[in-house]
């Protein structure tokens, strides 16, 4: 979706302001949100692209005004309710009012370490790779209303395949419960001028990681 989350190339957000001696969490609730997300992922609640899509669907003015972990919490509430893990009435009450539904696993202290580990996103290839390093490609000019990992600034642009990462789960379908739909993944590199026009810094090159359905031969 063409949402506020797709920030590459936008102007007006100001300086980057690093924080000296930044703590890991700025408040204890941030750690709880992160850990809950990990635990629900481990349990089989929903995949990470579903979490991302829930954040992307927050109203733009909310997305830019709340903190990072508040976005996570809002997205988690949304997924919990939309996916039937709890009712909005229960979140309001602060207590379960009905029994939960079964999940494949549960993150308990003895397996907590597994909650720290990111799973592999590699999936069995469904077809041979269409591109190889050095191939010229043009990204598609697509604007799906749902989750995609092709950023707006890199649509319809001419680039070169730099790396081939193998076949991986396709976020665009995972995020809308249409399955892993494995696709080849490539690093595609663009000249700065191709992305930002003739006034761009001539010394910059930018790459994205692009799934094969985002690409046409050029």
């Amino acid at each position: 979706m063409d949402g506020i989350h797709d920030m590459g190339g936008m102007d007006g957000f100001g300086r980057v302001e690093p924080e000296t001696n930044e703590p890991v969490f700025h408040a204890p609730w941030e750690g709880r949100v992160l850990a809950m997300q990990r635990a629900m992922t481990y349990a089989g609640g929903w995949p990470i692209d579903v979490s991302r899509f829930a954040q992307e669907r927050l109203p733009p003015r909310v997305y830019v005004n709340v903190s990072y972990y508040q976005r996570w919490a809002m997205a988690m509430e949304r997924n919990v309710v939309e996916r039937g893990f709890a009712g909005a009435d229960e979140l309001s009450a602060g207590h379960a009012l009905r029994a939960g539904k079964p999940l494949p696993r549960k993150l308990t202290p003895d397996v907590a370490k597994q909650g720290m580990t990111r799973g592999s996103f590699h999936r069995q290839a469904q077809a041979p790779a269409r591109f190889k390093p050095g191939d010229k490609v043009r990204t598609k000019n697509i604007h799906p209303p749902t989750h995609t990992r092709l950023p707006r600034y890199a649509r319809g642009r001419l680039g070169v395949i730099e790396l081939v990462h193998g076949s991986q789960a396709f976020p665009d379908t995972v995020a809308i419960d249409k399955g892993d739909n494995p696709q080849w993944l490539y690093t595609v590199t663009f000249e700065g001028k191709e992305l930002w026009g003739p006034d761009a810094d001539p010394t910059i090159k930018v790459s994205i990681d692009a799934f094969e359905p985002y690409l046409d031969p050029a």
Binding site: H5, V16, Q70, F85, S92, A93, K106, A210
Partner: protein
């Protein structure tokens, strides 16, 4: 978390605390999560997982040409040989800075970051200014960090739009010949491995 402006010092934060607590209580009572496991995850991120892991990888690459080759060839595989606790570094790609080319990593769409190597991303990495500007005007972003590179240096920005995670292998500072891995690792800052900083000068490390 009502949909209004975030106020770090006002009632918003306590409202957030209450809502997060409600969420945790409901998910616990439903049987989905175990608060004791959450404690362990929070503790691990606060005390165990951090940029020291990445710094060790960089320092080893500086000292050991064979490891460096392996790291640049297949980051995930090379890092696994170091015997980290978890299956660290799946989908990891290390990118090398040279006098001709400086690498910088961003995630314009969300906050993708090599957690296993660097810990949780700092707030600025997840912020709109960094995500919006890094791909368009990386030199001005570097200026915000006080980093100025020669005008002829190519700047190569990696937007982490999939599950691949990028780790910058900075240039080894001159004057560190014969240093141990432990001592070299002290020069390697988090920002140097994101590409928004450079390693510390040797005189800063005893």
């Amino acid at each position: 978390m009502a949909e209004h402006d975030h106020d770090e010092h006002g009632s918003e934060l306590s409202e957030t605390q209450l809502r997060v607590r409600a969420l945790e209580t409901v998910l616990t009572e439903k049987g989905y999560i175990d608060p004791a496991a959450l404690d362990l995850i929070v503790e691990a991120f606060e005390t165990k997982i951090g940029p020291h892991a990445g710094a060790r990888v960089v320092a080893k690459a500086w000292r050991d040409p064979a490891f460096k080759r392996a790291l640049l060839e297949d980051g995930s595989k090379a890092v696994r040989t170091l015997g980290h606790e978890s299956r660290v570094g799946d989908h990891l790609v290390a990118v090398e800075n040279t006098p001709a080319r400086h690498n910088m990593v961003v995630c314009t769409l969300c906050s993708c970051y090599p957690w296993d190597m660097l810990g949780l991303p700092p707030v600025w990495y997840k912020s709109a200014p960094y995500r919006s500007r890094a791909v368009k005007d990386p030199r001005s972003v570097l200026a915000d960090f006080g980093v100025k590179l020669p005008a002829s240096t190519q700047i190569r920005v990696w937007d982490s739009t999939a599950e691949t995670r990028f780790l910058v292998l900075p240039m080894r500072p001159p004057g560190t010949e014969g240093w141990s891995e432990e001592r070299l690792a002290q020069l390697v800052t988090r920002d140097a491995m994101i590409g928004t900083g450079l390693p510390k000068p040797p005189e800063e490390v005893a």
